[in-house]
Amino acid sequence: MLEVRGLDLFYGDARALDDVSLVVPEGAVVAIVGANGAGKTSLIRAIAGMLKPRAGSIKFRGAEIAGLPSHRVCDLGVGQVAEGRQIFPNLSVSDNLDVGAMLPRARAAAHANKAKVYEMFPRLSERAKQFAGTLSGGEQQMLAIGRCLMARPDLIMFDEPSLGLSPALARDVFDIVRRLNESGVAILLVEQNVAASLSLASHAYVLENGRVVLEGSGDELLRNDAVRRAYLGL
Protein backbone atom coordinates (compact mmCIF):
# COMPACT_ATOMS: atom_id res chain seq x y z
CA MET A 1 0.00 0.00 0.00
CA LEU A 2 2.78 2.40 0.99
CA GLU A 3 6.22 1.95 -0.51
CA VAL A 4 9.14 4.21 0.39
CA ARG A 5 12.36 3.79 -1.60
CA GLY A 6 15.72 5.47 -1.02
CA LEU A 7 14.37 8.51 0.79
CA ASP A 8 16.86 11.31 1.55
CA LEU A 9 15.82 14.33 3.59
CA PHE A 10 17.87 17.33 4.67
CA TYR A 11 17.33 20.25 7.02
CA GLY A 12 19.66 22.74 5.36
CA ASP A 13 22.93 20.78 5.30
CA ALA A 14 21.99 18.41 8.07
CA ARG A 15 20.92 14.99 6.88
CA ALA A 16 17.78 13.75 8.60
CA LEU A 17 17.01 10.68 6.50
CA ASP A 18 19.55 8.61 4.63
CA ASP A 19 18.36 6.19 1.96
CA VAL A 20 15.33 5.02 3.94
CA SER A 21 13.16 2.33 2.41
CA LEU A 22 10.12 0.69 3.92
CA VAL A 23 6.89 -1.02 2.95
CA VAL A 24 3.48 -0.99 4.61
CA PRO A 25 1.34 -3.76 3.09
CA GLU A 26 -2.43 -3.40 2.81
CA GLY A 27 -4.07 -3.88 6.21
CA ALA A 28 -0.80 -4.31 8.12
CA VAL A 29 0.63 -2.75 11.27
CA VAL A 30 4.23 -1.66 10.67
CA ALA A 31 6.31 -0.19 13.47
CA ILE A 32 9.27 2.16 13.37
CA VAL A 33 11.53 2.06 16.37
CA GLY A 34 14.40 4.37 17.19
CA ALA A 35 15.86 6.81 19.66
CA ASN A 36 14.95 10.49 19.84
CA GLY A 37 16.37 12.32 16.85
CA ALA A 38 16.68 9.14 14.78
CA GLY A 39 14.43 10.67 12.13
CA LYS A 40 11.10 9.00 12.89
CA THR A 41 9.03 12.18 12.89
CA SER A 42 10.92 13.47 9.84
CA LEU A 43 10.05 10.26 8.02
CA ILE A 44 6.35 10.58 8.85
CA ARG A 45 6.28 14.25 7.87
CA ALA A 46 8.06 13.50 4.59
CA ILE A 47 5.48 10.83 3.76
CA ALA A 48 2.69 13.24 4.71
CA GLY A 49 4.04 15.88 2.34
CA MET A 50 4.90 18.32 5.11
CA LEU A 51 8.63 18.08 4.32
CA LYS A 52 10.13 17.83 0.85
CA PRO A 53 12.58 14.92 0.44
CA ARG A 54 15.72 15.61 -1.59
CA ALA A 55 15.68 12.22 -3.25
CA GLY A 56 13.77 8.97 -3.28
CA SER A 57 10.27 7.82 -4.05
CA ILE A 58 7.13 7.48 -1.96
CA LYS A 59 4.36 5.47 -3.56
CA PHE A 60 0.87 5.15 -2.16
CA ARG A 61 -1.24 2.55 -3.94
CA GLY A 62 1.20 2.70 -6.83
CA ALA A 63 1.00 6.47 -7.33
CA GLU A 64 4.03 8.65 -6.63
CA ILE A 65 3.27 11.08 -3.80
CA ALA A 66 6.76 12.42 -2.99
CA GLY A 67 6.68 16.17 -3.45
CA LEU A 68 2.88 16.48 -3.36
CA PRO A 69 1.58 19.11 -0.90
CA SER A 70 0.18 17.71 2.35
CA HIS A 71 -3.47 18.39 1.55
CA ARG A 72 -3.21 16.29 -1.63
CA VAL A 73 -1.52 13.43 0.23
CA CYS A 74 -4.20 13.50 2.94
CA ASP A 75 -6.92 13.47 0.33
CA LEU A 76 -5.54 10.23 -1.10
CA GLY A 77 -6.27 8.56 2.25
CA VAL A 78 -3.06 8.99 4.23
CA GLY A 79 -4.02 10.14 7.72
CA GLN A 80 -1.77 11.20 10.55
CA VAL A 81 -2.01 11.32 14.32
CA ALA A 82 0.90 13.64 14.87
CA GLU A 83 3.51 13.93 17.55
CA GLY A 84 2.30 16.29 20.27
CA ARG A 85 -1.30 15.71 19.07
CA GLN A 86 -1.42 19.05 17.22
CA ILE A 87 -5.04 19.70 18.06
CA PHE A 88 -6.52 23.20 17.77
CA PRO A 89 -6.62 24.36 21.41
CA ASN A 90 -8.81 27.44 20.85
CA LEU A 91 -11.43 25.62 18.79
CA SER A 92 -14.19 23.58 20.36
CA VAL A 93 -13.91 19.80 20.30
CA SER A 94 -16.72 19.71 17.77
CA ASP A 95 -15.01 22.28 15.52
CA ASN A 96 -11.75 20.32 15.75
CA LEU A 97 -13.56 17.32 14.33
CA ASP A 98 -15.25 19.40 11.63
CA VAL A 99 -11.88 20.73 10.48
CA GLY A 100 -10.74 17.10 10.15
CA ALA A 101 -13.45 16.57 7.55
CA MET A 102 -12.54 19.46 5.26
CA LEU A 103 -10.89 17.24 2.65
CA PRO A 104 -12.88 16.61 -0.52
CA ARG A 105 -12.85 12.85 0.25
CA ALA A 106 -14.46 13.41 3.64
CA ARG A 107 -16.96 16.21 3.14
CA ALA A 108 -19.98 14.22 2.02
CA ALA A 109 -19.85 11.74 4.90
CA ALA A 110 -18.75 14.27 7.55
CA HIS A 111 -21.98 14.06 9.52
CA ALA A 112 -22.06 10.27 9.69
CA ASN A 113 -18.35 10.15 10.48
CA LYS A 114 -18.77 12.54 13.36
CA ALA A 115 -21.49 10.36 14.85
CA LYS A 116 -19.15 7.37 14.55
CA VAL A 117 -16.28 9.21 16.22
CA TYR A 118 -18.56 10.28 19.08
CA GLU A 119 -19.73 6.69 19.43
CA MET A 120 -16.13 5.51 19.58
CA PHE A 121 -15.11 8.24 22.04
CA PRO A 122 -18.15 9.17 24.16
CA ARG A 123 -15.94 11.52 26.18
CA LEU A 124 -15.53 13.74 23.13
CA SER A 125 -19.25 13.93 22.67
CA GLU A 126 -19.69 14.97 26.32
CA ARG A 127 -17.14 17.74 25.80
CA ALA A 128 -18.16 18.75 22.28
CA LYS A 129 -18.63 22.43 23.14
CA GLN A 130 -15.49 22.76 25.26
CA PHE A 131 -12.27 24.34 23.96
CA ALA A 132 -9.95 21.50 22.97
CA GLY A 133 -7.15 23.11 24.98
CA THR A 134 -9.06 22.41 28.19
CA LEU A 135 -9.10 18.63 27.65
CA SER A 136 -6.81 16.29 29.57
CA GLY A 137 -3.84 14.74 27.77
CA GLY A 138 -5.66 11.47 27.20
CA GLU A 139 -8.75 13.23 25.89
CA GLN A 140 -6.61 15.34 23.58
CA GLN A 141 -5.09 12.15 22.18
CA MET A 142 -8.60 10.76 21.60
CA LEU A 143 -9.46 14.01 19.85
CA ALA A 144 -6.36 13.79 17.66
CA ILE A 145 -7.34 10.24 16.68
CA GLY A 146 -10.99 11.18 16.19
CA ARG A 147 -10.05 14.17 14.05
CA CYS A 148 -7.87 11.93 11.89
CA LEU A 149 -10.73 9.43 11.49
CA MET A 150 -13.03 12.22 10.25
CA ALA A 151 -11.20 11.97 6.89
CA ARG A 152 -11.71 8.17 6.72
CA PRO A 153 -8.04 7.44 5.99
CA ASP A 154 -6.95 4.06 4.62
CA LEU A 155 -3.51 4.39 6.21
CA ILE A 156 -2.91 6.10 9.54
CA MET A 157 0.55 7.14 10.66
CA PHE A 158 0.74 7.34 14.44
CA ASP A 159 3.61 9.39 15.85
CA GLU A 160 4.21 8.66 19.55
CA PRO A 161 0.52 8.28 20.41
CA SER A 162 1.19 7.16 24.00
CA LEU A 163 3.74 9.85 24.83
CA GLY A 164 2.89 11.61 28.09
CA LEU A 165 -0.03 9.33 28.92
CA SER A 166 -0.44 7.18 32.01
CA PRO A 167 0.17 3.43 31.49
CA ALA A 168 -3.57 2.77 31.62
CA LEU A 169 -4.33 5.42 29.00
CA ALA A 170 -1.42 4.19 26.89
CA ARG A 171 -2.98 0.72 26.92
CA ASP A 172 -6.26 2.27 25.75
CA VAL A 173 -4.44 3.94 22.88
CA PHE A 174 -2.80 0.68 21.79
CA ASP A 175 -6.18 -0.94 22.03
CA ILE A 176 -7.63 1.67 19.70
CA VAL A 177 -4.77 1.17 17.25
CA ARG A 178 -5.47 -2.57 17.22
CA ARG A 179 -9.21 -2.03 16.72
CA LEU A 180 -8.63 0.39 13.87
CA ASN A 181 -6.35 -2.12 12.23
CA GLU A 182 -8.94 -4.85 12.64
CA SER A 183 -11.44 -2.63 10.85
CA GLY A 184 -9.11 -2.67 7.83
CA VAL A 185 -6.98 0.44 8.27
CA ALA A 186 -3.24 0.01 7.65
CA ILE A 187 -1.07 1.45 10.40
CA LEU A 188 2.42 2.93 10.47
CA LEU A 189 3.31 3.20 14.14
CA VAL A 190 6.14 5.21 15.64
CA GLU A 191 6.38 4.64 19.37
CA GLN A 192 8.75 5.09 22.25
CA ASN A 193 6.98 2.18 23.92
CA VAL A 194 8.98 -0.35 21.91
CA ALA A 195 7.70 -3.50 23.55
CA ALA A 196 4.06 -2.62 22.99
CA SER A 197 4.53 -1.46 19.42
CA LEU A 198 6.65 -4.45 18.38
CA SER A 199 4.13 -6.89 19.79
CA LEU A 200 1.42 -5.16 17.77
CA ALA A 201 3.39 -4.93 14.53
CA SER A 202 3.66 -7.56 11.83
CA HIS A 203 6.83 -5.92 10.56
CA ALA A 204 9.17 -3.33 12.06
CA TYR A 205 12.14 -1.17 11.16
CA VAL A 206 14.84 0.17 13.46
CA LEU A 207 15.92 3.70 12.57
CA GLU A 208 19.25 5.10 13.76
CA ASN A 209 20.67 8.47 12.70
CA GLY A 210 18.31 8.60 9.77
CA ARG A 211 19.12 5.12 8.46
CA VAL A 212 17.29 1.83 8.63
CA VAL A 213 19.75 -0.40 10.49
CA LEU A 214 17.56 -3.40 11.14
CA GLU A 215 14.22 -4.77 10.01
CA GLY A 216 12.20 -7.87 10.60
CA SER A 217 8.93 -9.14 11.99
CA GLY A 218 7.86 -7.68 15.31
CA ASP A 219 8.64 -10.96 17.09
CA GLU A 220 12.07 -11.22 15.50
CA LEU A 221 13.02 -7.76 16.67
CA LEU A 222 11.62 -8.41 20.14
CA ARG A 223 14.04 -11.37 20.36
CA ASN A 224 16.97 -9.45 18.83
CA ASP A 225 19.73 -8.80 21.38
CA ALA A 226 20.70 -5.38 20.05
CA VAL A 227 17.08 -4.20 20.14
CA ARG A 228 16.55 -5.60 23.63
CA ARG A 229 19.66 -3.83 24.92
CA ALA A 230 19.08 -0.51 23.20
CA TYR A 231 15.32 -0.07 23.50
CA LEU A 232 13.98 -2.45 26.10
CA GLY A 233 16.76 -2.04 28.67
CA LEU A 234 17.21 -5.79 29.00
Binding site: A48, M50, P69, S70, H71, V73, C74, D75, Q80, A82, Q86, I87, F88, P89, N90, L91, D95, N96, D98, V99, G100, M102, L103, R147, C148, A151
Partner: protein, 288 residues
Protein backbone atom coordinates in the same frame (compact mmCIF):
# COMPACT_ATOMS: atom_id res chain seq x y z
CA UNK B 1 -25.37 70.68 28.41
CA UNK B 2 -25.53 66.92 29.25
CA UNK B 3 -27.41 66.46 26.00
CA UNK B 4 -24.49 68.00 24.11
CA UNK B 5 -22.10 65.55 25.69
CA UNK B 6 -24.42 62.64 25.00
CA UNK B 7 -24.71 63.71 21.38
CA UNK B 8 -20.96 63.95 21.00
CA UNK B 9 -20.38 60.62 22.70
CA UNK B 10 -22.92 58.88 20.52
CA UNK B 11 -21.53 60.34 17.36
CA UNK B 12 -18.08 59.20 18.54
CA UNK B 13 -19.38 55.71 19.17
CA UNK B 14 -20.97 55.55 15.74
CA UNK B 15 -17.67 56.50 14.12
CA UNK B 16 -15.94 54.03 16.45
CA UNK B 17 -17.86 51.13 14.94
CA UNK B 18 -16.39 51.96 11.54
CA UNK B 19 -12.91 52.19 13.05
CA UNK B 20 -13.59 48.81 14.63
CA UNK B 21 -14.54 47.24 11.29
CA UNK B 22 -11.36 48.57 9.73
CA UNK B 23 -9.26 47.28 12.65
CA UNK B 24 -10.98 43.91 12.29
CA UNK B 25 -9.31 43.63 8.89
CA UNK B 26 -5.90 44.12 10.45
CA UNK B 27 -6.69 41.75 13.30
CA UNK B 28 -7.91 38.89 11.11
CA UNK B 29 -4.82 39.05 8.90
CA UNK B 30 -2.41 39.25 11.81
CA UNK B 31 -4.23 36.59 13.82
CA UNK B 32 -4.04 33.96 11.07
CA UNK B 33 -1.37 34.82 8.52
CA UNK B 34 0.90 36.46 11.14
CA UNK B 35 1.63 39.34 8.79
CA UNK B 36 1.45 42.89 10.09
CA UNK B 37 -0.25 44.76 7.29
CA UNK B 38 1.54 48.10 7.29
CA UNK B 39 -0.31 48.98 4.10
CA UNK B 40 -3.63 48.75 5.96
CA UNK B 41 -4.47 52.47 5.84
CA UNK B 42 -3.27 52.87 2.26
CA UNK B 43 -5.46 49.98 1.11
CA UNK B 44 -8.38 51.58 2.91
CA UNK B 45 -7.70 54.90 1.20
CA UNK B 46 -7.80 53.03 -2.12
CA UNK B 47 -11.22 51.71 -1.17
CA UNK B 48 -12.32 55.24 -0.24
CA UNK B 49 -11.20 56.63 -3.61
CA UNK B 50 -12.91 53.81 -5.46
CA UNK B 51 -16.14 54.47 -3.57
CA UNK B 52 -15.91 58.23 -4.18
CA UNK B 53 -15.43 57.58 -7.90
CA UNK B 54 -18.41 55.26 -8.07
CA UNK B 55 -20.64 57.55 -6.04
CA UNK B 56 -19.79 60.63 -8.12
CA UNK B 57 -19.82 58.90 -11.51
CA UNK B 58 -22.87 56.69 -11.07
CA UNK B 59 -24.80 58.64 -8.48
CA UNK B 60 -25.04 55.61 -6.22
CA UNK B 61 -25.18 55.63 -2.44
CA UNK B 62 -21.84 54.63 -0.85
CA UNK B 63 -23.59 51.76 0.91
CA UNK B 64 -24.67 50.37 -2.47
CA UNK B 65 -21.07 50.61 -3.68
CA UNK B 66 -19.89 48.77 -0.56
CA UNK B 67 -20.29 45.19 -1.86
CA UNK B 68 -18.42 46.02 -5.06
CA UNK B 69 -15.60 47.83 -3.27
CA UNK B 70 -15.35 45.02 -0.71
CA UNK B 71 -15.15 42.45 -3.52
CA UNK B 72 -12.41 44.42 -5.31
CA UNK B 73 -10.39 44.64 -2.11
CA UNK B 74 -10.93 40.92 -1.48
CA UNK B 75 -9.43 40.06 -4.86
CA UNK B 76 -6.57 42.52 -4.28
CA UNK B 77 -5.81 41.00 -0.86
CA UNK B 78 -6.04 37.42 -2.14
CA UNK B 79 -3.62 38.06 -5.01
CA UNK B 80 -1.30 40.10 -2.80
CA UNK B 81 -0.90 37.19 -0.38
CA UNK B 82 -0.68 34.55 -3.09
CA UNK B 83 1.86 36.21 -5.33
CA UNK B 84 3.82 38.60 -3.12
CA UNK B 85 3.58 38.17 0.63
CA UNK B 86 3.73 34.37 0.51
CA UNK B 87 7.25 34.70 -0.92
CA UNK B 88 8.54 36.47 2.19
CA UNK B 89 6.67 34.31 4.71
CA UNK B 90 9.82 32.34 5.59
CA UNK B 91 11.95 35.48 6.07
CA UNK B 92 12.51 37.19 9.45
CA UNK B 93 9.84 39.63 10.63
CA UNK B 94 11.76 42.80 9.83
CA UNK B 95 12.12 41.76 6.18
CA UNK B 96 8.36 41.30 6.00
CA UNK B 97 7.88 44.71 7.62
CA UNK B 98 10.06 46.26 4.93
CA UNK B 99 8.01 44.72 2.17
CA UNK B 100 4.74 45.90 3.71
CA UNK B 101 6.11 49.40 4.34
CA UNK B 102 7.29 49.52 0.72
CA UNK B 103 3.85 48.46 -0.40
CA UNK B 104 2.31 51.25 1.69
CA UNK B 105 4.59 53.88 0.12
CA UNK B 106 3.91 52.52 -3.34
CA UNK B 107 0.16 52.63 -2.81
CA UNK B 108 0.27 56.24 -1.54
CA UNK B 109 2.27 57.23 -4.63
CA UNK B 110 -0.19 55.36 -6.83
CA UNK B 111 -3.20 57.14 -5.30
CA UNK B 112 -1.41 60.46 -5.76
CA UNK B 113 -0.70 59.73 -9.43
CA UNK B 114 -4.17 58.43 -10.18
CA UNK B 115 -6.37 60.74 -8.13
CA UNK B 116 -4.16 63.80 -7.57
CA UNK B 117 -3.50 65.57 -4.28
CA UNK B 118 -6.93 67.20 -3.85
CA UNK B 119 -9.46 66.00 -1.35
CA UNK B 120 -12.55 64.41 -2.82
CA UNK B 121 -15.84 64.07 -1.08
CA UNK B 122 -19.27 62.68 -1.75
CA UNK B 123 -22.54 64.55 -1.41
CA UNK B 124 -25.33 62.56 0.16
CA UNK B 125 -28.97 63.47 -0.32
CA UNK B 126 -29.55 62.80 3.37
CA UNK B 127 -26.30 64.46 4.41
CA UNK B 128 -27.97 67.07 6.58
CA UNK B 129 -30.83 64.92 7.90
CA UNK B 130 -30.94 63.73 11.44
CA UNK B 131 -33.08 61.73 13.82
CA UNK B 132 -34.28 63.33 17.00
CA UNK B 133 -34.60 60.92 19.88
CA UNK B 134 -35.69 62.90 22.93
CA UNK B 135 -32.93 65.42 23.56
CA UNK B 136 -30.52 63.53 21.30
CA UNK B 137 -29.82 64.42 17.70
CA UNK B 138 -28.37 61.62 15.59
CA UNK B 139 -26.88 62.32 12.15
CA UNK B 140 -28.62 60.11 9.65
CA UNK B 141 -25.30 59.55 7.86
CA UNK B 142 -23.57 58.33 10.97
CA UNK B 143 -26.44 56.05 11.92
CA UNK B 144 -26.47 54.47 8.46
CA UNK B 145 -22.69 54.17 8.44
CA UNK B 146 -22.51 52.56 11.87
CA UNK B 147 -25.36 50.18 11.04
CA UNK B 148 -23.55 49.10 7.88
CA UNK B 149 -20.33 48.53 9.85
CA UNK B 150 -22.22 46.42 12.38
CA UNK B 151 -23.85 44.32 9.65
CA UNK B 152 -20.52 43.60 7.94
CA UNK B 153 -18.84 42.78 11.24
CA UNK B 154 -21.77 40.53 12.17
CA UNK B 155 -21.55 38.64 8.90
CA UNK B 156 -17.85 38.15 9.48
CA UNK B 157 -18.40 36.83 13.01
CA UNK B 158 -20.98 34.38 11.69
CA UNK B 159 -18.66 33.26 8.90
CA UNK B 160 -15.81 32.50 11.29
CA UNK B 161 -18.08 30.92 13.88
CA UNK B 162 -20.14 28.57 11.77
CA UNK B 163 -18.94 28.09 8.21
CA UNK B 164 -16.60 25.21 7.39
CA UNK B 165 -14.10 27.55 5.74
CA UNK B 166 -14.27 29.90 8.71
CA UNK B 167 -13.46 27.05 11.07
CA UNK B 168 -10.59 25.96 8.84
CA UNK B 169 -9.17 29.49 8.85
CA UNK B 170 -9.40 29.66 12.64
CA UNK B 171 -7.65 26.28 12.78
CA UNK B 172 -4.79 27.60 10.61
CA UNK B 173 -4.36 30.53 12.97
CA UNK B 174 -4.53 28.31 16.02
CA UNK B 175 -2.01 25.63 15.03
CA UNK B 176 -0.18 25.79 11.73
CA UNK B 177 1.35 22.30 12.04
CA UNK B 178 -2.01 20.88 13.05
CA UNK B 179 -3.58 22.43 9.96
CA UNK B 180 -1.02 20.67 7.74
CA UNK B 181 -1.54 17.42 9.65
CA UNK B 182 -5.27 17.31 8.89
CA UNK B 183 -4.65 18.23 5.26
CA UNK B 184 -5.88 21.81 5.11
CA UNK B 185 -4.65 23.72 2.08
CA UNK B 186 -2.92 26.31 4.24
CA UNK B 187 -1.57 28.43 1.37
CA UNK B 188 -5.01 28.86 -0.09
CA UNK B 189 -6.58 29.54 3.30
CA UNK B 190 -3.95 32.19 4.04
CA UNK B 191 -4.72 33.92 0.75
CA UNK B 192 -8.44 33.70 1.56
CA UNK B 193 -7.80 35.19 4.99
CA UNK B 194 -5.82 38.08 3.56
CA UNK B 195 -8.64 38.60 1.09
CA UNK B 196 -11.22 38.63 3.88
CA UNK B 197 -9.15 41.07 5.94
CA UNK B 198 -8.79 43.33 2.91
CA UNK B 199 -12.52 43.01 2.27
CA UNK B 200 -13.18 44.24 5.80
CA UNK B 201 -11.16 47.39 5.39
CA UNK B 202 -12.62 47.82 1.90
CA UNK B 203 -16.06 47.86 3.48
CA UNK B 204 -14.80 50.23 6.17
CA UNK B 205 -13.38 52.52 3.47
CA UNK B 206 -16.65 52.54 1.55
CA UNK B 207 -18.47 53.53 4.73
CA UNK B 208 -15.85 56.04 5.79
CA UNK B 209 -16.42 58.30 2.78
CA UNK B 210 -19.79 59.11 4.33
CA UNK B 211 -18.01 60.79 7.23
CA UNK B 212 -14.86 62.34 5.81
CA UNK B 213 -13.30 63.48 2.54
CA UNK B 214 -10.62 61.39 0.89
CA UNK B 215 -7.07 62.40 0.06
CA UNK B 216 -4.00 60.29 -0.74
CA UNK B 217 -2.11 60.95 2.49
CA UNK B 218 -4.75 59.61 4.90
CA UNK B 219 -3.20 56.14 4.93
CA UNK B 220 -0.64 56.25 7.76
CA UNK B 221 -3.05 57.70 10.28
CA UNK B 222 -5.57 54.93 9.59
CA UNK B 223 -2.85 52.30 9.86
CA UNK B 224 -1.82 53.72 13.21
CA UNK B 225 -5.41 53.99 14.37
CA UNK B 226 -6.06 50.36 13.48
CA UNK B 227 -2.94 49.29 15.41
CA UNK B 228 -4.03 51.23 18.47
CA UNK B 229 -7.50 49.69 18.30
CA UNK B 230 -6.29 46.14 17.83
CA UNK B 231 -3.78 46.37 20.67
CA UNK B 232 -6.32 48.09 22.90
CA UNK B 233 -9.00 45.51 22.19
CA UNK B 234 -6.67 42.54 22.47
CA UNK B 235 -4.62 40.88 19.72
CA UNK B 236 -6.44 38.07 18.03
CA UNK B 237 -9.85 38.92 19.45
CA UNK B 238 -12.45 39.89 16.87
CA UNK B 239 -14.86 41.24 19.47
CA UNK B 240 -11.90 43.10 20.96
CA UNK B 241 -11.32 44.94 17.68
CA UNK B 242 -14.91 46.20 17.62
CA UNK B 243 -14.80 47.14 21.30
CA UNK B 244 -11.45 48.90 20.80
CA UNK B 245 -13.00 50.83 17.92
CA UNK B 246 -15.86 51.97 20.15
CA UNK B 247 -13.47 53.04 22.90
CA UNK B 248 -11.33 55.04 20.49
CA UNK B 249 -14.44 56.60 18.96
CA UNK B 250 -15.52 57.73 22.43
CA UNK B 251 -12.10 59.03 23.37
CA UNK B 252 -11.72 61.02 20.16
CA UNK B 253 -15.12 62.60 20.67
CA UNK B 254 -14.36 63.41 24.31
CA UNK B 255 -10.97 64.88 23.42
CA UNK B 256 -12.78 67.11 20.97
CA UNK B 257 -15.17 68.60 23.54
CA UNK B 258 -12.95 68.61 26.62
CA UNK B 259 -9.79 69.93 24.96
CA UNK B 260 -9.57 70.46 21.24
CA UNK B 261 -10.21 68.19 18.26
CA UNK B 262 -6.56 68.27 17.15
CA UNK B 263 -5.65 66.50 20.39
CA UNK B 264 -7.76 63.45 19.60
CA UNK B 265 -4.81 61.26 18.54
CA UNK B 266 -2.87 62.17 21.67
CA UNK B 267 -5.91 61.07 23.65
CA UNK B 268 -6.07 57.73 21.84
CA UNK B 269 -2.38 57.04 22.41
CA UNK B 270 -2.58 58.03 26.06
CA UNK B 271 -5.47 55.62 26.44
CA UNK B 272 -3.40 52.91 24.77
CA UNK B 273 -0.55 53.48 27.22
CA UNK B 274 -2.90 53.31 30.19
CA UNK B 275 -4.49 50.10 28.94
CA UNK B 276 -1.09 48.53 28.27
CA UNK B 277 -0.06 49.34 31.83
CA UNK B 278 -3.21 47.98 33.43
CA UNK B 279 -4.06 45.15 31.06
CA UNK B 280 -1.13 44.30 28.77
CA UNK B 281 -3.10 41.70 26.82
CA UNK B 282 -5.74 44.29 25.81
CA UNK B 283 -9.38 44.53 26.85
CA UNK B 284 -10.54 41.16 25.50
CA UNK B 285 -7.18 39.57 24.74
CA UNK B 286 -6.00 36.33 26.25
CA UNK B 287 -3.05 36.42 28.57
CA UNK B 288 -0.06 35.00 26.74
Amino acid sequence: MPATYANILISGALAGLIYGLSALGLSVIFGVVRIVNFAHGEMMVGAMFLTTLMVNALGLDPLLCLPVVAAVLFVFGYLLQRFLIERVAHLPDHMQFLLMAALATTLTAAWLMIFGPETRGVRLSYGYDSYEVGPLILDKTRVFAAAAALVVAGLLFAFFRWSATGKAIRACGDNHTGALVVGLDVRKLYALTFGIGAMCLGAAGAIMVMLIDTQPYLGPQYTLLAFVIVILGGLGSMAGAMLGGLVIGFSEALAGVLFQPSLKSAFSFALLIVILLVRPQGLLGKRA
